[in-house]
Symmetry: C2
Subunit: 378 residues, 2 copies
């Protein structure tokens, strides 16, 4: 009497990690952007302003697809910042964050299909796809992103509907996909007839990275997913999709099923974009997180913990502990440190991997966290 999703859904290891992280001193687990850097003054002002200027209109039902005012600001200001070449044949659909976007895309594309994902991949977005797929095939990830030759070998024998990738500041692996791989993925999508979900929530704070996969795509094979969670704040729940018009129209209609995107929050984000808040913050946030990441990298190297690909951006570093990561985790928690044992991000392997995050920890906490980690590994 219950659907497959109802039967198979279970608590996300990221949620579990976060719950434990609240109870310890040093949090290298959380993927929440640093609260110290959230523009709360500007957000507060924006709520007041949109209500004063536009009145009750900002509190109506949202309609499906997103408020025109916000779509205009995304089109004119955010898309250039992201470096996406949006074609005339493509449309923007506003969503309640990137997670909601992926849920909508899973709901649209999948019904017991075969899909491919990076191994490891971000478990929470992946779940929305996995629970609607019959087979999910892991493709190994290396320092330059997904191993395209392994993907191509697979495609020669298996038909897939979707490929899901995180090209920048990968969660949990911290790597960026090289430009030539981005181009190659689009060629493969054409040749083997599948779609690509390009999940790119870190791009606004990623600094210089190769151009989006979408830019190599001329036939609407790539659906680009973005988010305001990192550049503004996740609690607003706002993101968007750029997709070929026919797909975008359907995704937009599917929003009638949940109508979950707050109207007033859409006006607030439109206002913040208009004021230039997003543009002003992009470089500052990149530098801020980059500096913390450097400290993490240096601290790990100091302790001889060197089994990782060096992240160029984002919040996450994936470290091979060369021991069962749950065992180390339990010892670390006792000593006051939380991180995320990364096995759940892997469809294959990953037992000794740990996801370390620099997003909320201070410089001192990162250094102390690595000390505890090192001690816990003995």
């Amino acid at each position: 009497m219950v659907s497959r999703i109802g039967k198979e859904i279970e608590i996300s290891p990221v949620e579990l990690g976060s719950q434990i992280a609240k109870k310890v001193r040093i949090n290298l687990a959380s993927g929440t952007p640093d609260p110290k850097k959230m523009p709360i003054k500007e957000i507060k002002e924006a709520y007041g302003e949109v209500i004063d200027e536009l009145g009750p209109k900002v509190l109506f039902y949202p309609g499906a697809g997103g408020q025109e005012e916000l779509i205009k600001e995304i089109e004119n200001k955010v898309i250039p910042l992201l470096g996406v070449n949006k074609r005339k044949s493509e449309k923007i659909v506003v969503t309640s964050g990137a997670q909601h976007a992926i849920e909508l895309l899973g709901k649209y594309f999948l019904e017991n299909d075969t899909i491919a994902v990076e191994n490891p991949t971000f478990i929470e977005t992946f779940n929305a796809l996995k629970l609607r797929s019959s087979t999910t095939i892991p493709i190994p990830l290396e320092s330059t992103g997904i191993k395209v030759e392994e993907l191509e070998n697979l495609l020669k024998i298996v038909k897939i509907t979707l490929l899901y990738v995180i090209p920048n500041c990968h969660n949990p692996a911290g790597v960026n996909m090289s430009e030539c791989k981005r181009k190659k993925l689009v060629e493969l999508a054409e040749k083997y007839d599948f779609y690509i979900i390009e999940d790119d929530p870190y791009k606004p704070i990623a600094g210089e990275v190769p151009q989006p996969i979408k830019n190599f795509d001329e036939n609407g094979r790539v659906i680009y997913v973005s988010s305001f969670s990192k550049i503004l704040a996740p609690g607003l729940r706002l993101g968007f999709i750029i997709a070929r018009e026919d797909i975008a129209e359907k995704i937009s209609l599917m929003e009638q099923l949940d109508f979950s995107t707050s109207t007033i929050n859409q006006y607030v984000v439109a206002k913040l974009i208009k004021k230039g808040i997003i543009h002003n913050r992009a470089e500052e946030l990149y530098n801020y997180y980059r500096n913390k990441m450097k400290i993490l990298i240096d601290s790990l190297n100091d302790k001889g913990l060197t089994s990782f690909n060096e992240p160029k951006c984002g919040f996450f570093l994936l470290l091979d502990l060369h021991k069962d990561s749950w065992e180390v985790f339990h010892k670390a928690v006792e000593k006051g440190l939380s991180f995320v044992p990364a096995k759940p991000f892997f469809l294959r392997g990953g037992e000794t991997m740990a996801r370390l995050s620099i997003s909320v920890a201070s410089e001192e906490e990162i250094i102390e966290g690595v000390r505890i980690l090192h001690e816990s590994m003995k």
Copy 2:
């Protein structure tokens, strides 16, 4: 390469009606609560206050299931106002409005199942259930609600998973379900092993109505769905479910798939409840809409348009025009009036029915709207 939902989703007639309604003088189409009555001053204050008092915390990821602060306020203040007897074995799950709640419930319960609904029913919530069902069976509605004897005849021959009903201020039919039918539905659910979704978004402004179906339920057969859209404002996108613990836990986990419920909006609603805004508004809003409904009823009677069940609460009256309602609609739009031709709300019949709404129209507009409607019928 597209799922069933992707294939079958289409534009809601309510959306279409609303789009046309924006272009004409008199709007008897919209189901949006009256903007003149939205507490925008209080909402603006609440945004400022939660940011000042709680800081960046109100802008974190929402987590699944809802913020504790809001759940506490719902438990202690809203549930008593709604007259729901929540059992200890039941839990509250916060959602992005009632529509999101129904989408989650559809996703949880249904996978090509057979369901029963009132005929007519609210098309937008119904869609989230229909698109996941193999068979949807319409049960006629009368002035005292669903015809339970017809439902029972059906249940003797067909196994259903779910029954979806709107017991108060029905959309589009305007009727309330009698208390004895509410009790009977729970008995039938026990006897024939199905669940009931009790969709009750109008209750906060419904005045005196029979107690919830849920109150007769001792075994968690009834899932109660509520919303803050009518009593506060729909643009906040907040509602909740009350369900048996095992179901509530699963629905809560399923929120990990979309994480679509804005964190700050949850704190804002918690603040507004704490301040008594909801309690202060309940009676005032009931009287306000009740008065407009009386004017609609009187105006229709004056013109000899008497084929309807008299609504006791809510926004909607379902009128039998005794002619094709789309024909009348097109004439009415030319003369400056919009309403919703109600055929799409019916699984069977309904060609001559019109949904008239008093939610946003003024008293004068209602009178003038009925005059135009009458003229358009000639």
